[in-house]
Symmetry: C2
Subunit: 190 residues, 2 copies
């Protein structure tokens, strides 16, 4: 998606070789005109699939998932909550996801009441990096007895391998911009 790539080059901030900050339009402030187009484009990628629900993670996935839902006939959006690992497991599907950027482990949790066996679930997130969050969401869908219709991401950091691993597992993964490398403060797309 050219407009997105141009936006990343113009307003994204490359940090080191691993991180790109997109706080000005995707992670902290939301460019709603762009998000509308992102939602439409992600929806288009999965328009031939049955989508009963969209599953994402708080907080940055929510806006993307909502905009995508609008263009798929308004399936409900469920967002997994991030919690510290604890022994409180009753009533939740849960799966762990490391954040390499933050050096933390989050437990992603979804109330058991919100996903049902047999549902076809589209996973949506803002970033696909090492694939920890998306992978945890596929785990949650599986715990619920559903199936993953596909995985849609706004920005994939190709060099961190998450997308590759998920595709190798057989998931259909669609990313609107794939970053090949970050070098000397510059961002290169595949």
């Amino acid at each position: 998606m050219e407009e997105l790539k141009e936006k990343i080059l113009r307003e994204g901030v490359a940090i080191g070789t691993e991180t790109v900050k997109v706080d000005r339009f995707l992670n902290h402030m939301l460019d709603m005109r762009l998000l509308e187009k992102i939602g439409a484009r992600l929806a288009e990628s999965f328009s031939q699939c049955r989508i009963d629900k969209i599953l994402t993670v708080e907080s940055s996935g929510i806006a993307v998932a909502c905009m995508t839902s609008r263009y798929l006939g308004y399936p409900p959006v469920v967002f997994a909550k991030k919690a510290q690992p604890s022994t409180m497991t009753e009533g939740f599907f849960q799966a762990g996801a490391r954040s390499f950027t933050k050096g933390t482990l989050s437990m992603l949790r979804v109330s058991e009441k919100l996903l049902s066996p047999g549902e076809s679930i589209l996973i949506i997130d803002d970033f696909l990096a090492h694939g920890e969050a998306s992978s945890a969401l596929t785990d949650i869908v599986s715990q619920a007895g559903g199936r993953v219709a596909g995985i849609g991401a706004v920005i994939e950091k190709g060099f961190q391998g998450g997308g590759k691993r998920l595709r190798e597992k057989g998931y259909r993964v669609e990313s609107l911009a794939v970053i090949e490398k970050i070098e000397n403060g510059r961002i290169f797309f595949s």
Copy 2:
């Protein structure tokens, strides 16, 4: 908003005399058709105001703010991040907000780069209870040198007084459903 009130009565869960859980359509799973109407209605309430940006809090405010933006000509949405209080203050506007439900204190933070002096800011949230979050957001707008165009909430718990206090301070507050009391598992609207 009648449809919202009916939804709260049908799918909300009253807990004790203070809490109503709306996980099935507003806080964990999002009913996107309803959110579309909620956004349109909140936008209508403030359609005569200049709105440069919408400010909300992660996570549950994001979807409401996004849907409202769509009907106001797409002003950017900024969501404050919740962090544990710390001494790291550089580059952020911040204000504390207690959660009476959770018994916690959060620091709401917005990057200084995302709000500018002179901007007219609409504050949007899912719940208006004791008014701690909205009040913290008004504080952040003031730190940025902006002005508050108004405060829009989906559900106001009138008996907790936050809305009253904010109105007494001179803010325009619009809530789509005002709960007067919660008693014996039943929810009563004003």
